[in-house]
Symmetry: C2
Subunit: 625 residues, 2 copies
């Protein structure tokens, strides 16, 4: 077996083992399983729900609270006009092909990609053809429908199972369509992202913020994408939780007041140059250096990249498997200034989990045009400035006399002129003694004296402008899945013992409490400890099932519970209990009334296990374990 | 003006004033406002989001944590088969009529209701006709399409504005339709309730719970109802957050282990008898008495009713405006054992905010039939029981000889017989020496000896059964809206000063911190206090805007912030600050390092303001206030 195959096999085994552990303990469940399920839809069971809720709570604390962001909650059901303005109705598509006989649907890029990879793997392939195909593969995401169709013909691709011919590729919109109201006259969609709800509320949010920039708004909620053929388990789903931030900022002032707090954060950067260069590898660099060298466009974007790195590390992402990849020029929307993806390595390869983009003023401008509502901020200059401005001043009396009821149409037409046209008209009037103007009431001839057209110097004390927006956008489910992979392991001494080494911030339950055997005294003490923890907000679970402590430890490891208290025979004599740490399996003995304080400190992560238990009595591990 | 009109006017004024305060401070915003909005869709702005998130967190603590419920999270997008099984595809409808000319849509019951109310209000109405119309009004929700159509004709109802004729009423399904996947072959809907996600996962959840009953599962999430003509603001919306619990229990054992903890909770009960009797008023009673007297069907339902009362009181619902109304027989689904709604009085009248229903085994049975997956629990009898069971034992040899390839059909037909039919057949065989059986292969004549039919006593040690489910279902938005109404008031000394007296559990911000004037020392101290609070998880907001403290207090009152710290000139000398309580406007002076502990205690509601500040130095109120 080739080394590559072996590695692939290993990854598959790991994934199967972990997937089994996750499904077995109901971290997630294929949705509507008793009805055969629906591709791309998953439920979270009790521990999955708890992990997700912890992840979201920590996200809120790390971003929303820490920076006093304005949180909003908008509906999923969205009228067509909003998504027309944002560009989703026209452009949120994937290219699709059908089996001409069965009508089965396939994603064109996936079919071409799979075929290209298989062909390129062939050692007998002619070098010129290989280069050609490799080039095609690199450009796969930017192919037009025509180019994709040509590739399908050129490569002779057929429908995967039937081997029937395929239709030409055509765009399929990924939004779930629906109807709002009973009349059928109000088409709508399920939102494909949470961001639009923030943009349409910009005016109110700016007002709420006292008219001041910069400020950030955030939304956590469900988004929906009707994927053509979902695969890759929890990574490509049809309904998912997004957490998005829109940080509104003056387009000329993208420094960040708190940049200094993060400037030394180290990152693995896979810049455009690094991707296109010979080595094609990310490099380590501090965010301070990256912004200073212009690798990252500005401080605000850099600030959020660094904060994202810190967030991901805290929730248990392995920093060695985390990189920030810059979008290549052709990947970026035409309006974007700079885009980086936080990519996390999993058994499926590098997965885009967070997008960080400087989207300039695109979104606000698009909604402003479509809604005819001004979405701008006001800027008061430090000092008023003198500015040459165009003055178009119709002479009302003469206009009225000459044009009667059409006078307003002529005035409007004159005042709507751009600078160049207005000055040209003025020059013509002066030179030729008359000029023609196209108005809503038809062409009209005007004479000198009817309008004064000139450039004048005026004192300007401020202006309206459209803010830029910097958008960090988190896919909660993808982050969670990668976090599962990075935290899953099998105990060295037993293939059957699987563990999730969740950070205490993330663990679904922080502490389990076991009476060693079913004894009234032990049960009572265990219950007391359990209640004390719960009353202080530490999620605790009492486990009184009549199985060995070793088995109960194994069960708690499968759920990733970091700490376990055991009440044993000695507890009844001296009111001590043991506390076990999940990964080291170490146990210390302490007074039962010290448990709360110690577990609390450990869960707040203000200390380590070694530090916190220094000098405590160590307990021999139970033989059963 | 009649007293009723005056009261209505007063309510309208109150609602307008409060609605203004809510919209002004962005508690909520009509969704997609810059595009003219969409009826029945609302956004929550920053303080609304915070209030909602506090409400949900407290709900989780009060129900999910407190009773170790199993929480799940399922998608909103749901395939048709699931909602076909649950009955929503066929029966989740409202009767609709159209204007025959404009095609405008109206809810038939709303039109009839409005017309009836207007007609009944006419003092000249003949007594017999009045009785007839009042009877119709009382039955409005149970009218069939035909009856509703007859009422429209009888009352001469036309389209509200155009006065055109109306079509006959027809059912309109309230679910938002969509398509799952690209082929168009998989119709789906947005879920109309969160409950179904729990039912379809019953088997896995029971397994997760070690196969033991009772247990409860819970889900908090969005639900969608495509209302025909949404009105009543936040009370009737097209997308809303639901929090539902499904408590699975043995159908014969509906006692609750923790019932004693709530048995003395006092409720206002509007039982079926009270609604149908002469007085038509709710009465006060403890839940213990209500269950004992059989007014509420069982302890588990009673337990959740009491816990709901406690929950609503804690979040600031006025108990004088809270009642539990029992469903009348005709309101209840045919399978339901007993249903109560927690109704909260608002300016819109009594609003159904929580539904509490004993739904028997209906949902699990429906999904079991449709999915062909057994959704049952196993019950092991304390002692094996001897039971008389029917035995139908075909003689394979004789059957094969007599019926050849049809032997199986005959055997199946015999074994599918119910007890009565089988025994009758046995008797006939014995009496007449032959009998005829209808099989899939046609009628067949059988003879004695081909089958043994008898009742026999057997030892049975357990059985499979379908659990009953008791469902408390909370409409988070409705509860929140009523809570807003119950907590809104205007200061006695100033019409313009509006206040929300939110409980500290619910308040969007717990404490604001003001430097009296813009002074470096005051700012620094204010910032220190603010950070200390935030670091301990107390949502705090520093307000350094250059307006008077009085105005800043007013602003903080509008958001319902319960406490405010002011740093003043004296603070710089002796490190004291003042702490103000929102509703009394009382201020005490204390050392700045005592603020955290005091505010924390006040927010945890373990003490009252009077109690906690006893003996502290009182501060004169600022003149500006």
């Amino acid at each position: 077996m080739a080394a590559g195959d072996e590695q692939a096999k290993e990854k598959e085994n790991f994934r199967a083992k972990m997937g089994g552990a996750l499904e077995q303990r109901l971290f997630y469940i294929p949705s509507f399983k008793i009805y055969g399920g629906v591709a791309g839809l998953y439920d979270y069971g009790p521990p999955g729900c708890a992990v997700k809720s912890n992840l979201q709570a920590f996200w809120r604390q790390h971003f929303v609270m820490n920076e006093s962001m304005l949180e909003v909650e908008c509906p999923s059901v969205t009228p067509e006009c909003v998504l027309k303005a944002s560009g989703h109705v026209d452009r949120f598509t994937d290219l699709m092909v059908n089996d001409v006989v069965t009508k089965d649907c396939f994603r064109a890029d996936h079919l071409v990609e799979e075929n290209l990879e298989r062909m390129i793997a062939d050692p007998m392939l002619a070098p010129a053809r290989r280069t050609e195909l490799e080039d095609l593969l690199a450009r796969i995401e930017e192919l037009t429908a025509e180019e994709m169709g040509a590739a399908i013909v050129d490569l002779g691709i057929k429908a995967p199972e039937t081997k029937n011919d395929l239709t030409a590729p055509y765009p399929f919109n990924l939004m779930f369509p629906t109807q709002i109201g009973p009349s059928g006259a109000a088409p709508g969609f399920l939102r494909p992202e949470t961001a639009q709800g923030i943009f349409v509320n910009f005016r109110d949010l700016l007002y709420y913020n006292g008219g001041k920039l910069p400020f950030a708004a955030a939304q956590v909620g469900q988004s929906f994408r009707n994927e053509i053929s979902p695969r890759a388990g929890l990574l490509r789903v049809r309904e998912f939780t997004q957490a998005e931030i829109e940080h509104f900022v003056h387009p000329d002032h993208k420094d960040h007041a708190r940049f200094d707090e993060v400037k030394d954060v180290g990152l693995s950067l896979f810049s455009r140059d690094a991707q296109l260069g010979a080595v094609k590898k990310p490099f380590p660099m501090s965010i301070g250096d990256a912004v200073e060298k212009g690798i990252i466009a500005n401080q605000t974007l850099g600030y959020f990249i660094a904060r994202t790195q810190l967030f991901l590390e805290k929730i248990g992402i392995n920093p060695a498997k985390l990189r920030f990849r810059q979008h290549l020029q052709h990947e970026m929307a035409h309006y974007a200034e700079d885009c980086w993806d936080a990519e996390i390595e999993s058994t499926y390869g590098w997965v885009e989990c967070v997008g960080l983009a400087d989207r300039s003023a695109y979104d606000l401008k698009a909604h402003s045009v479509a809604s005819k509502v001004e979405l701008t901020a006001h800027e008061r200059f430090a000092e008023p400035v003198m500015e040459e401005v165009l003055v178009v001043e119709p002479n009302k009396k003469d206009m009225g006399k000459a044009f009667k009821k059409d006078a307003k149409a002529v005035t409007d037409a004159l005042q709507a002129m751009c600078k160049e046209d207005a000055l040209a008209l003025g020059a013509k009037l002066e030179a030729e003694g008359k000029a023609t103007v196209a108005t809503e009431a038809g062409e009209k001839e005007i004479l000198p004296g009817m309008v004064r057209i000139a450039m004048e110097t005026k004192k300007i004390s401020g202006r309206q402008f459209t803010p830029s927006v910097i958008e960090p956008s988190f896919g909660i489910g993808r982050i969670m899945y990668c976090m599962f992979e990075h935290n899953f392991y099998v105990r060295a001494d037993d293939e059957q013992k699987t563990v999730f080494k969740f950070s205490p911030i993330i663990a679904p339950i922080k502490c389990t409490i076991f009476p060693l055997v079913n004894d009234a005294g032990m049960n009572a003490l265990a219950e007391r400890v359990s209640r004390e923890l719960a009353a202080d907000g530490i999620s605790a679970k009492l486990d009184t099932t009549a199985i060995s402590v070793g088995k109960r430890y194994a069960r708690t490891d499968e759920l990733g519970v970091p700490f376990a208290v055991t009440v044993d025979h000695r507890s009844l004599d001296d009111d001590t209990v043991t506390l076990r740490e999940r990964d080291s399996c170490e146990q210390v003995r302490l007074k039962s009334d010290q448990v709360l304080a110690l577990v609390k400190k450990l869960c707040a992560m203000t200390t380590t296990w070694e530090e916190a238990t220094k000098g405590m009595e160590r307990q021999e591990q139970a033989a059963a374990e």
